[in-house]
Symmetry: C2
Amino acid sequence: MISVIRAGALGLFLFSLSAASAQTADTASGRPYERVANRIISSGLMSGQAFPILRELTSTVGARLSGSPEAEHAVAWAQQTMQKLGFQNVHLEKVAVPHWVRSSVEEASIILPGPNTEVPLRICALGGSIATPRDGITAEVVEVKSFDELKALGDRARGKIVFFNRPLDPSKVSTFEAYGGAVNQRGQGAVESARPGGVAALVRSMTTRLDNVPHTGAMGYNDSVPKVPAAAVSTLGADLLDSLLASRKGLRLKMKLGCQTLPDAESADVIGELRGSEHPEEVIVIGGHLDSWDKGSGAHDDGAGCSHSLEALRLLKDLGLTPKRTIRVVLFMNEENGLRGAKAYAAKDRPGEKHIAAIETDAGGFSPRGFGVQADSQVVERIARWAYLLRPIEADRIQKGGGGADISELGKKGVPTLGLRVDGQRYFDYHHSDSDTIDKVNERELELGAIALAILSFVLAQEGV
Amino acid sequence: MISVIRAGALGLFLFSLSAASAQTADTASGRPYERVANRIISSGLMSGQAFPILRELTSTVGARLSGSPEAEHAVAWAQQTMQKLGFQNVHLEKVAVPHWVRSSVEEASIILPGPNTEVPLRICALGGSIATPRDGITAEVVEVKSFDELKALGDRARGKIVFFNRPLDPSKVSTFEAYGGAVNQRGQGAVESARPGGVAALVRSMTTRLDNVPHTGAMGYNDSVPKVPAAAVSTLGADLLDSLLASRKGLRLKMKLGCQTLPDAESADVIGELRGSEHPEEVIVIGGHLDSWDKGSGAHDDGAGCSHSLEALRLLKDLGLTPKRTIRVVLFMNEENGLRGAKAYAAKDRPGEKHIAAIETDAGGFSPRGFGVQADSQVVERIARWAYLLRPIEADRIQKGGGGADISELGKKGVPTLGLRVDGQRYFDYHHSDSDTIDKVNERELELGAIALAILSFVLAQEGV
């Protein structure tokens, strides 16, 4: 009898050990979770789905600006994909989103004095811009590199098109930092142009590349000044305009935009999860944004983040790794021009639930480098102790500072927020432009991002934050 | 008088300090060389020449296989470029190199029984292969994944074309490791095919991609067995052949190659340097290989390494940074199919000179990650203490193991050898194929590699190894 009990106990013990080595801490090695992390890595690299998922999104849906039919198609696609992958509690959380639409009418040309001296420029409306009058706007141009420079011009900007031409600072190693140092021209250029009586804003594209592709992006208005139309011009076009302004007298610019803002549309965040086995009420959000700009097909921004998130949860599920806490994929709607999905998600009352961390991936499908953590230093240190699990894929740089736009609303409520950090040198080559297509995504680099996300979210689900 | 002397002494002291902060240890910060490293970073990113150099090489010279007129053009270009950049002691060191030439005749097709059932395959001769008879070889096929499998077939391989179809192992994080695990099929496939009486070797392309582009590369013969022709087939072609072999009886393969080996040609390593101000006889070599395969334009392999090396020395020179020890760029000839330039460089008697380190860059123009060091652990540690200088560009992974083919001959003589490590996920997508062209190179990623090389070679020149 005793021997039977012993055998039974031993059997149970062996079973637990085997489950432990497959799934959990694996503390015997002194490097807990190392085996499970390595299983995630090799399974992802051998038979990962990140690229097929992204290919499907970009080919069957394509670009998907908030409010558009394509965005609704993306919502349906994401919900079906989560169901097909076998996620739990798949559902939509509805949200009203802005509905701005581009028109096929968007053109600009430099007009030099004399006959036959129109030089066309590649432009695109900035997202949220009003249209020009039907015949366009033709005016002289003032070129500035900053709002201070514009202010110093005073009345000389009146009646002019204001051309903002401060490039992304190439000396910055971080292209995101370079972008951050230039993007106020795009966001506030229209308002600042209108203050002294400017009639339109033309903004150098927010890209590290010199080419002939305009890059769109969000801009805003302010009730205190008139609304004027705003467009981005390709960097080559900006350089041309700059050089002609310096060398030719009497230059004027003609700009025509047909875009408009329609009433808000109904859309949704798309949500699915693996329920936690021990603390299902404690939630780790992983996600990106499902909407994109209406250029290219939103492959890196942020198709990659959607694919990372879906694939991370799929990897865990298909490897039979049940997390102790709930890991929830949230594909946020309307990051690009409103953050409505992010705000709605964070504002929703979720009785009994507690978010213990949120991880966003919205920096493209490039090789992962690590995670940025927006939290107090103790939390950063507690998360950073897992860096060795990410070392084999060289994604082990876990450092303070990061997060993401969609999860910042959760951050304001005290939830530690993390952002997947990837190699950022190519991101702004494609960002918000016709160049952001799947051929710019490397299958293995994309998968490695999903793997990094799967490993970190799983260990946080097991061990807490 | 005393006051004059004091003023003079102080003046000298101030001058030294300013030179020190500009150029050398900058020990006051507790992080020596940090300022100079940051100057190199921002200067490279602001006005780097790595990409223009590579564009010139790939557009004016293009592919440059050892022995070809294009390789001689590359030698002249490299010498002129070093002279234009103001390097010192620019010279050629002559070396005889193999001269293998591809022919326009290279074709293969699967022949299925029945009329009109030829299915063409995209192939290319492996470098060094003999031609087939003028009418080609038509034979049955045996498919194997390893030499052991081939051995087990015994006499069943006689008279057949041997198809080596072991892919690069996708589960390896390091694509170089995956390549290393598959490349014996290319290198020794012809010899192993001939042993049991096979008539030709067809090898799955050594790439991580599934596409229709064949990848060439070196192969060898052995005097103990007959020479048989050898070609690479695209990965898509390999998959097709594999599936037809499994499903269709009586399949034969037709292969025709017109390549040949001509007598050795004269060529050269191209060398230029910045002479050391204190220990000019102590030399740090930095370099890549000037030859390429005759496919694409050798942009990543190894135009990038040539560009890295030239740009690293240019950066130091143009920043007025005179090294204490000599930093020498060596652009080696014939890495791809003979290492003749590497061997000649290492064998040459250089009285009074001592090589203290050699750094190779031959892994493509991708974002740098760090350096691999082939030396004893103490040397690795001494080099690794400079990692913080490379931290701002996240190229600070300095670890044991590395080097490079061209500098391995110096390594055999006891010189510590280092290899620039870059993000390797995309390298084998392009390697040795028509895809290896400049549009696959990102300007900033390439420049960052040159910056990493400039920083490390400079600090080693100042501080020794």
